[in-house]
Symmetry: D2
Subunit: 281 residues, 4 copies
């Protein structure tokens, strides 16, 4: 598959959904030229939404973070996170009891702000779990892995709870070469211990696409074939976009390098409609 110019591709669409990490920013900060690329899309009347697998910060905190990185003009409502989907799910499905969690106090604050009490796994008394109504994997930070992962395994052996994974990503980059195990990786470890499947939020699952699509249509009339999904990862951004019925563009500015792209496309069978070097190309 040949690389094409992102601008040429994007101008055929009425809206563009963008992944954040690897598309707008990387471990160094904002990718050079992203402000201009975004401004250009807006100048052509193309709507923008940012879809990010992240449950560590609220929509407002995400927006502020873009400003700190130097990217201006992203409105709070233009951001969709997997954490928002998890929050929505808990509000609809869990109406009483406490929600146990693995993650930071901050992530718990905004995701679990549903009127229900939340309690970190370290504070749960395993002999007194009658009032625990659900469990959420929120973040890979904010707890002692050895102690609290084992405690989570035992909690979920003792009581059959709805378990939500607020970010399905298995790992995230921390430098040019290195990664860290993310929330989805820790949840997968616990799933393996228990032989169960939790409820996962975040791309490639469709909840974020659906939310962004519905929210976008509050501002106009957009059909699926008029929307382009842009991401750097085949099995989240491109698979999710393809399944939702959007046209998809793989960019080579993040997880997938130029030398790997065709190889990974062939070995996975996940085929983007376009490949672009980056959104600034």
């Amino acid at each position: 598959m040949n690389e094409v110019s992102f601008i040429t591709v994007a101008e055929k669409f009425k809206a563009v959904f963008l992944d954040s990490y690897g598309v707008l920013k990387n471990y160094n900060g904002l990718i050079d030229g992203v402000q201009e690329a975004i401004d250009h899309l807006r100048s052509k009347g193309i709507a923008i939404r940012i879809l990010t697998n992240d449950a560590s910060r609220s929509q407002q905190q995400q927006a502020e973070s873009f400003v700190r990185l130097g990217l201006k003009g992203i409105d709070t409502h233009e951001i969709v996170t997997s954490g928002m989907m998890a929050r929505q799910y808990l509000q609809q499905k869990i109406l009483e009891g406490k929600i146990g969690y693995l993650g930071t106090e901050n992530s718990a604050e905004y995701i679990l702000q549903s009127g229900l009490e939340h309690i970190p796994v370290r504070d749960i008394d395993l002999n007194n779990i009658d009032d625990i109504a659900a469990f959420v994997f929120l973040d890979d930070e904010g707890f002692d892995w050895n102690e609290d992962i084992n405690k989570t395994v035992n909690l979920l052996r003792r009581k059959n709870l709805p378990v939500i994974v607020a970010n399905s990503d298995k790992l995230y980059p921390v430098s040019k070469n290195d990664v860290a195990v993310a929330t989805g990786g820790i949840a997968k470890l616990v799933e393996n211990m228990l032989g169960k499947k939790f409820i996962h939020f975040g791309k490639p699952d469709s909840q974020m696409f659906m939310y962004a699509y519905d929210e976008l249509n509050l501002y106009g009339s957009f059909s699926k074939h008029e929307i382009l999904m842009v991401g750097d990862t085949l099995h989240t951004d491109i698979l999710g976009g393809n399944k939702f019925g959007l046209k998809t563009t793989l960019v080579l500015s993040g997880n997938t390098s130029e030398s790997d792209a065709n190889l990974h496309i062939n070995s996975t069978g996940i085929i983007p409609d376009f490949i672009c070097r980056s959104i600034v190309s």
Copy 2:
């Protein structure tokens, strides 16, 4: 989890999504009392949609089939099939070339009626596949398993195509005790041979829930918490309903027997909000 009366549960909702096989009908035909149960829901002003993992018949053919079984009053627009989702996907994503398929001529007729030519795998010349643009697993019938499954494996080894599974069910019941391998089972065999993941349609994936939800809202204003999903299978109906954010009811008139229900709920971690003997209880 205790069994409750379906009617008592359903009356709390504005709409009910029903699986077909194991809920409305079984290998013997229509389940006794289903007509009355459906009529009762309608008399209370509760909207009905039927969500079925089936790609062998069109919406119209499904509606006629209910009439033949003796269930009256199901409108074509109230039926949502996984085949419809596959058709919609192909129309949006595949704009030129031929679509190869495994299945019956009839299933191909209605799913692939998108202006594009379709060709059964037995008629494909493996040395002349430049114009094949996508491949669809439609049905477990209409082809020679030995010959055509092997040919499909080789086609997909020679060319990297988008591959769609129009019905993800692995098996379907053919009598009280026995089952048959379904489309999703055959697709899984080919996925294993190739080490790839295809694009699956049908519950638990959200496309059918999303479609039914949007279509329902053409007829009124329905929030997710006002809709009840009813099914006999934990890992399709209940998992899918839970992930979409609906309340869910497991019925014991199909795949899941009374003696298995709590065991399967505990071993899978897929937890329905309610358990009812059947929709006629």
Copy 3:
């Protein structure tokens, strides 16, 4: 990893275990120069054993097949097949009752020659299965896939039997480009339908290595570090050899091409000790 000369590598060992397909022969017949390579090994006093994932022919039939291809001097006792391991297992573990099978009459003849009656799945009466004591996947031929695979699924749903897969290979080559689904692939389909794991024979499992090692030591004293395993497939020959503690050589004359070798080694983490173009290089 760099390619080295096979002869130079092999001469450091007292015995060489060779895979058959992709090492000695391919879809065209015997690989050019194999007779000379084998003769050379023998002239150096290096013992030879052939370890093949095959349950379709007896040891004697395998030996005759080498003669027909033009390879002379392979003794029956130098051949180890996965079918022999399955036969041994059945003799030790199944002492009464009938053994059901999927495969050819010929494969059944020699594998199931243990005094017990064997019965092809098409002849089994599903309402009369009390005397069926075990089930074996023998071959991908000799039965109707659609009819008999479905019947096997239902047999194994009705009765919990020890199930043996006499050849774990998922596919086998039938020409330069094309493959066919093998016994192991069909068994995997049935495992998926049932959610169970059968007992698999054949590389990478250690039974064949163990048998060849013990048999070899009837003819002298061989330590593991004095034996070289040679094969064309990373996840059977090389993984199995590595796990058994042998030194391993990947040859590029079969499943793994020169251009794929390093890529597959890196992506699987299955690392041969040596890479050679072929055993004639």
Copy 4:
């Protein structure tokens, strides 16, 4: 399947292979009556070997541990651990360089005593890994999970090394109700992050059975059908024993409770030849 008396079963065999945890001991210490049961087997001339998935202690330390628990007369040579198998593998396959590891200093001491230098992952400099030749998962203790698991992931992303899992168990019991994630569980997390399969030692893999079988035959002549494998876990003890061709007995004094036994046998298809309450019954 009906329960039978262990003594009656065992007396038909010339040797008995026993799992340790759940058979001889549990979280409370030695199971009551085990000394008498062992003494009885010996009085009948039945040979005993103990096969345990453990890489935290040497054979000598295991023997001392049995004495401390109050079980006398277990000879060092009668104990086979998965750690011994890993050590043997490293000695045969890794001839130069350093061996990185996750685990305690004590486990590293005895497993890696092969003349090669060993280095805990926390002391590895990721920018200087040319001399690291292999990596071993030894134990779930002795390191910081968050810090060192992430570091292991990055080490194995940077360099393609043979990776050994010295104990495949995913979890181990720490009290009547609770478990802890074991070495095999942590290794599985890292395998998932990398998309690779490591080399696993410990039941159900055959290395320990093979070792015990060969070692036993130094003391007499034992055929496989004269040996009984006894364990409390279907997917390690029973599956491994079945695949090796031994007769197998499931005991209900550990992982598998009386109420679960038939259910688990049916759902896994792993069928022991006998079920006994315990070895003291």
